[in-house]
């Protein structure tokens, strides 16, 4: 039996990409194995841990709960793309300074998840930060330092806006 295949065209980190994929392939596996974008990680593969968080058309999604074929025509951004653009440089720097990672496995997903909060809820409280990242598991830090880093960035961005 030959497995079904489909041809998809999508934008990944600003570049147009055309590939043949099996319909059953997860978006995250397509990004990692098809495009060598291994910054995003695979954890639980059923939508619980958040390690595979990527952006599709500007919104964060679980890369293991979306098929590559579903992303046809979409614009996908991974940690490689947002790192290159510098969009999250301040957040990434805060993660360094606050020691908000140890093994780093959850970090790419955590950063993209936090980025959505920075964007949508600039006045988020610590409780809101915790709630927002509740779908991204970290097994090293105990979260305190991650919440600190996100809060630091929120505060700095607010101050930056006031200064403008």
């Amino acid at each position: 039996m030959t497995l079904p295949e489909a041809e998809i065209t999508l934008t990944v980190n600003g570049r147009s990409v055309r590939r043949r994929v099996e319909p059953r392939q997860h978006l995250i596996d397509f990004l990692r194995e098809g495009l060598d974008l291994t910054g995003s990680h695979v954890g639980c593969e059923h939508g619980v841990c958040g390690a595979c968080t990527v952006r599709v058309d500007g919104r964060i999604v679980r890369g293991c709960l979306m098929l590559a074929v579903q992303a046809a025509g979409c614009s996908v951004e991974t940690i490689e793309g947002v790192s290159e653009s510098g969009e999250l440089a301040d957040l990434q720097s805060a993660f360094h300074q606050r020691n908000a990672l140890q093994c780093g496995y959850c970090t790419p997903g955590m950063l993209l998840c936090a980025a959505e909060l920075l964007e949508t809820t600039p006045n988020a409280t610590r409780a809101q930060i915790r709630e927002h990242i509740s779908g991204n598991y970290c097994r090293c830090t105990g979260y305190q330092a991650i919440v600190d880093a996100i809060e630091t960035t929120l505060t700095a961005r607010r101050a930056g806006r006031t200064a403008d």
Partner: protein, 284 residues
């Protein structure tokens, strides 16, 4: 894990999707937000031959107001409902329930129609729809029909929808003045499936409750309407005696099964605790 192989087709209109469903029958699954379906495929709890992606069909998404109803397209995401000004004005219960659904990344993709069709008794939307006396618009090639949420859910993951039908919208009756509402649930961690949850609607006039509706999450094989407790509260000032009667009525209203952590008795107790908290918040 990875899903077993299947073929995939992206339907461009409703007629095409319905024709594909007719042709492939039980071998096909409708793919909407995929936030439950793809997880079950990953775990190989289901292995359809076909996925029919309906997410690009125009007209199935969005929130509108008619003379009589607030209409939520089946493909409207949890996130859109959470942030909708129309929902906040005409069915605030839904806005209160939305943050309890999983996590931000999942709310960005998951749809209300998918949640209704999957009919998990521990999910938020089915219980809210039962409490709100919503109805579902269901489309087949042969025509369209409407079914009350209160009769749609028939058993565990079993609904009135046939395999060749697609839910296209959720219609919630408009009220001249929307009732007050409270949504509460108990979960071990934020975003987990609720151990038990409650959706409470009612009016408060000089301390007396009226037009009370109570939907329960995770308290039976389907989302449940707690009719005994509703009758106990209707027209009453919710003093200690009335609350005690309403809580006692839950014994008949609810039929929870145990899970890994909680026995049916524990869930019954927690359901009563939630009812009291919800009523007090509604009155506050």
């Amino acid at each position: 894990m990875k899903p077993s192989p299947f073929d995939y087709v992206r339907a461009t209109n409703l007629t095409e999707a319905l024709a594909l469903l007719e042709r492939h029958g039980e071998q096909a699954q409708i793919l909407a937000g995929g936030q439950t379906l793809i997880a079950t495929l990953n775990m190989r709890l289901s292995a359809p031959d076909w996925l029919i992606d309906i997410t690009r069909i125009p007209g199935l998404s969005g929130i509108t107001l008619t003379e009589t109803h607030l209409v939520i397209g089946a493909l409207t995401t949890h996130r859109e409902i959470e942030r909708s000004a129309l929902v906040a004005q005409y069915a605030p219960l839904l806005g209160q329930a939305a943050p309890h659904i999983a996590h931000a990344a999942i709310r960005n993709s998951g749809t209300i129609g998918g949640s209704i069709a999957f009919a998990d008794p521990a999910a938020e939307w089915p219980a809210c729809c039962v409490a709100l006396d919503a109805r579902f618009v269901i489309q087949a090639l042969s025509g369209e029909r409407r079914v009350s949420a209160r009769t749609f859910f028939r058993g565990l993951y079993d609904t009135d929808r046939a395999a060749h039908e697609i839910i296209t919208a959720i219609e919630i009756p408009r009220e001249r003045a929307p009732r007050r509402s409270v949504f509460m649930e108990l979960a071990r961690r934020h975003g987990d499936y609720a151990i038990v949850g409650v959706a409470l609607l009612g009016r408060v006039d000089q301390g007396r409750l009226s037009d009370v509706a109570i939907g329960y999450v995770g308290a039976g094989a389907t989302p449940l309407l707690a009719q005994g407790a509703m009758a106990a509260l209707e027209g009453q000032a919710a003093d200690a005696d009335v609350l005690a009667r309403a809580k006692a009525a839950l014994a008949q209203d609810l039929d929870p099964s145990g899970d890994l952590y909680n026995s049916p008795a524990t869930k019954r107790h927690l359901a009563a605790v939630l009812l009291e908290r919800a009523v007090k918040q509604l009155l506050a």
